[in-house]
């Protein structure tokens, strides 16, 4: 209860604000419609009702979005291509695969960087540069390029997720693997521990807080990557495709529904990483 109450309060505040904003943002268009229909002097209560039930509102009211989510998930068969759950699953699988690739790649690169001077000096600047390449520009080319060699579906999307998510992991892990105090390293030096032992017994555990912070960012970005990739390739479905087609058809409610589902997925994923973090912390004897 003590955990739910604050969330509920903030949630209520947001929903109230949202409804108010919906009136405000949808009013101009509603006025146009009413004028056109020859309706002047609509009572305010009715007018509010109208702004909350437009077909293509600038800002859909919360209940519209949730009705759409409900209709597109629970009310439909899971395997239906109109089901948001179906599209959510497609995006989720690409996200998870890409995140797994990205985390692995990020850790491997970080390890190479802290252990090899040449890698550090040569790789780091280019890893950074790689992230300044606008992914949406490259994504279609990647999809086209991989399509040309026969790779379609999940893998191109996962690769784009990986491309985005490995970066926070590299940056965080390089910092984390370098975070042990000199005296902690000295201790292992006195045992003449080999590089492998220094890594597993000191650097890796010391880097855990950094790894989890990075993974939280990484998994959220990974989802963005999957969605971006889906925007480049309208066949195959996924939440990105729903966003796109919603946008073409001016279906704001559909856009928001897809957005919310994506955000919900990301929040769940971040929460899962968070619980993993707490579990590992507990196993590592962290102070409660």
């Amino acid at each position: 209860m003590t955990r739910i109450l604050p969330i509920l309060t903030i949630l209520l505040a947001i929903v109230a604000f949202w409804y108010a904003a919906a009136i405000w943002m949808n009013a101009p268009w509603q006025n146009t419609l009413n004028t056109r229909a020859g309706l002047d002097s609509v009572p305010f209560a009715d007018f509010v009702q109208q702004t909350w039930s437009q077909d293509k509102p600038v800002l859909p009211a919360p209940h519209q979005v949730f009705a759409e989510i409900w209709n597109a998930t629970v009310a439909l068969e899971l395997t239906s291509r109109r089901s948001l759950a179906y599209h959510g699953w497609i995006t989720l699988s690409a996200t998870l695969l890409g995140f797994a690739f990205g985390t692995a790649l990020g850790v491997v690169l970080a390890v190479a960087i802290i252990h090899n001077d040449a890698s550090d000096r040569s790789l780091m600047p280019w890893i950074i540069a790689s992230q300044t390449v606008p992914i949406l520009a490259v994504a279609p080319m990647v999809v086209v390029g991989l399509g040309a060699v026969g790779l379609t579906g999940l893998v191109p999307k996962a690769l784009i997720s990986m491309y985005l998510s490995f970066f926070p992991v590299v940056v965080g892990m390089v910092k984390g693997l370098r975070s042990p105090e000199p005296i902690q390293l000295d201790l292992l030096r006195t045992y003449d521990a080999n590089g492998w032992q220094v890594f597993w017994k000191l650097r890796w555990p010391a880097a855990m807080p950094f790894l989890f912070a990075s993974m939280k960012v990484g998994i959220a970005i990974s989802l963005i990557g999957a969605v971006v990739a889906e925007l480049s390739n309208a066949s195959g479905g996924g939440l990105g495709v729903r966003l796109l087609t919603g946008s073409y058809n001016g279906q704001t409610v559909q856009i928001w529904a897809a957005l919310f589902l994506a955000a919900f997925l990301a929040a769940v994923l971040v929460a899962i990483v968070g619980s993993a973090e707490r579990w590992v912390n507990a196993r590592m004897g962290a102070r409660a």
Partner: protein, 262 residues
């Protein structure tokens, strides 16, 4: 037989933005196998730095240093020594048992022997019952004892101990002092021991090295002729007090604010 530690004209300077710090200057010292050498000197005189240099954790700026006739690096690779740091340096994610087992894991002791050694050394420092606690659950002195246990858990011939008993009360200290002496007598280890306690230094050592600061130099080397078997009450004998007085004089001479002291 070669000396265990042999320093000749050893110097070490820390570069630093605003003026270099000369931590060791012109240190000459020979330590033979089986000796128990105490280092004593004002804070900041370079005791830790000297121990770290022996352990190949710092590189001398000048002079030569050999350990068992080898370079410090080769000695370190041969796992010639165990080191007790001035700070406990326990790993916060390992419980006490695991912290003590760390060097054993690294040196690939069989699991059963690891457990046995951990049990034995923890008992030696009187920490039985705290095996599963994490460092932050222990008092300062308990942490220090855990770090001593860690260095004793494997059998290095040379022990480098930097103020190991600083945070311990007199009784525990006496206890550990005599345990250490027993261990030393039994195993013929060579021990380098930093302490601030003159009685402790005299009680334990065959040789006491007095250092003075800025730059860190050896001002006196006092050979003790006390017998190898030392009951605790040897500390009241005139021989003992005489050596202690000599150490105190050497120490005072190296101090910058003698005059002020009443």
């Amino acid at each position: 037989m070669t000396a265990v530690v042999q320093a000749e004209r050893l110097g070490l300077t820390f570069p630093s933005g605003d003026g270099d710090i000369v931590a060791l200057a012109d240190v000459n010292l020979t330590i033979e196998k089986g000796e128990f050498v105490s280092f004593i000197g004002p804070s900041g005189c370079g005791k830790t730095t000297f121990l770290r240099t022996i352990a190949d954790l710092e590189t001398p700026s000048s002079g030569t240093l050999t350990i068992n006739g080898q370079t410090p690096g080769a000695a370190r690779k041969a796992r010639a020594y165990g080191y007790v740091f001035q700070a406990a340096a326990l790993y916060p994610w390992r419980n006490i048992e695991k912290n003590v087992a760390l060097p054993l894991e690294i040196m690939n002791y069989p699991a059963a022997e690891q457990a046995e050694r951990v049990r034995r050394t923890l008992e030696l420092v009187n920490l039985t019952g705290f095996e599963k606690k994490y460092p932050w659950q222990l008092s300062g002195g308990m942490q220090q004892r855990a770090s001593i246990a860690r260095a004793l858990s494997f059998d290095a011939d040379l022990l480098l101990m930097d103020e190991p008993f600083g945070a311990l009360d007199e009784i525990v200290r006496d206890h550990l002092n005599s345990e250490l002496l027993k261990l030393w007598a039994r195993t013929e280890k060579t021990i380098c021991f930093v302490t601030h306690s003159i009685p402790e230094a005299v009680y334990l050592s065959t040789k006491i090295v007095v250092m003075s600061p800025r730059p860190g130099r050896v001002t006196d080397i006092i050979e003790s002729n006390l017998p190898r078997e030392r009951p605790l009450d040897i500390r009241e004998t005139p021989e003992f007090l005489e050596i202690a007085a000599r150490v105190r004089d050497g120490l005072r001479a190296g101090h910058s604010y003698d005059e002020e002291v009443a």
